[in-house]
Amino acid sequence: MKGQIFLAGAALMVVLLVLIGSAFNAPAEIPASAAIAIQADNIANEYKYAIGLSAADGHDDLFAMSGYFRENVLGFDSIYALIVTDPSGPYRLTVGNFLRGVIDVNVSATQSSPQTISLRLADKERANWDFSGTGAVRLTINYTLQNVVRSKTLDFTTYSNQTIGWSDIGISSDDDRIRRDGVRTVTRQ
């Protein structure tokens, strides 16, 4: 009978240990996608920095940067738009596609001519359009990739000397996908 009491006591201790352990050893609440999330944050910030560089040097640095990240970051894709306004002339829109597929782009712009534009962009391809506009413009970019339609609206005024950049980046891993969307407006000197 003594032995059975020892066994029962041991079983009770096991139950107690499990209860104590579950209370103190709870798993850390860190998403499995943390690694690609911090990388996406870093890259999204650098897109904003590159919009500033584009405003300063007058080039579309986002195109080269998108190509760089596609080469160097596994599972990376992006789409971006760059608008350069000029009070004395038309404003220019550039759209770059690095989404790993062909996209159909439809642009509509208020207070502008032309009012709409449609184009198909291959992967790693960009296109420029010049619009003559007056005053406050609301420009909407709709793009379709594999039957999924996404949209982005950008507001600006044609009387300004600005560079407006938008990027939507994504990083995909085996079981997760992180996206970051950002806009930056830079007033040129």
């Binding site: 066994l7 240990l17 850390a28």
Partner: protein
């Protein structure tokens, strides 16, 4: 005979206790350690970048400055600026974080790789 049963029962009790202790108090999984380390490494690099102490140093390949800045926050680390490829570290069991910089004043992308252990 009775003594032998008691011995067997005592061994079973000990085994149950040892297994339960090992299961309950197992060390936190390495993946979680690595994730935490990666997050802290990224935070340090991002902080240095935000405060203007990383971008220019990286663009001019000033590794001494970067190491000195990192040493204020991290104890066990190595760092490199990767050109075409990252050469890596000789240490085993490290957590690596890549931090990208688009350039400094002009577009010239840089990859900084931080190793921590």
């Amino acid at each position: 005979m009775k003594g032998m049963f008691h011995t067997i029962e005592a061994v079973i009790v000990l085994a149950m206790l040892m297994v339960s202790v090992a299961v309950v108090f197992k060390p936190i999984q390495r993946a979680d350690d690595s994730t935490l380390l990666a997050k802290s490494g990224y935070s340090v690099l991002h902080h240095l970048d935000d405060s203007g102490r990383l971008r220019q140093a990286a663009a001019s390949n000033d590794m001494a400055s970067i190491r000195a800045e990192l040493r204020q926050w991290l104890s066990d680390f190595d760092v490199e600026i990767c050109t075409l490829i990252c050469t890596g570290t000789t240490r085993q069991d490290v957590t690596a974080v890549d931090y990208f910089i688009a350039g400094y004043q002009s577009f010239d992308p840089i990859r900084i790789r931080l190793y921590m252990w």
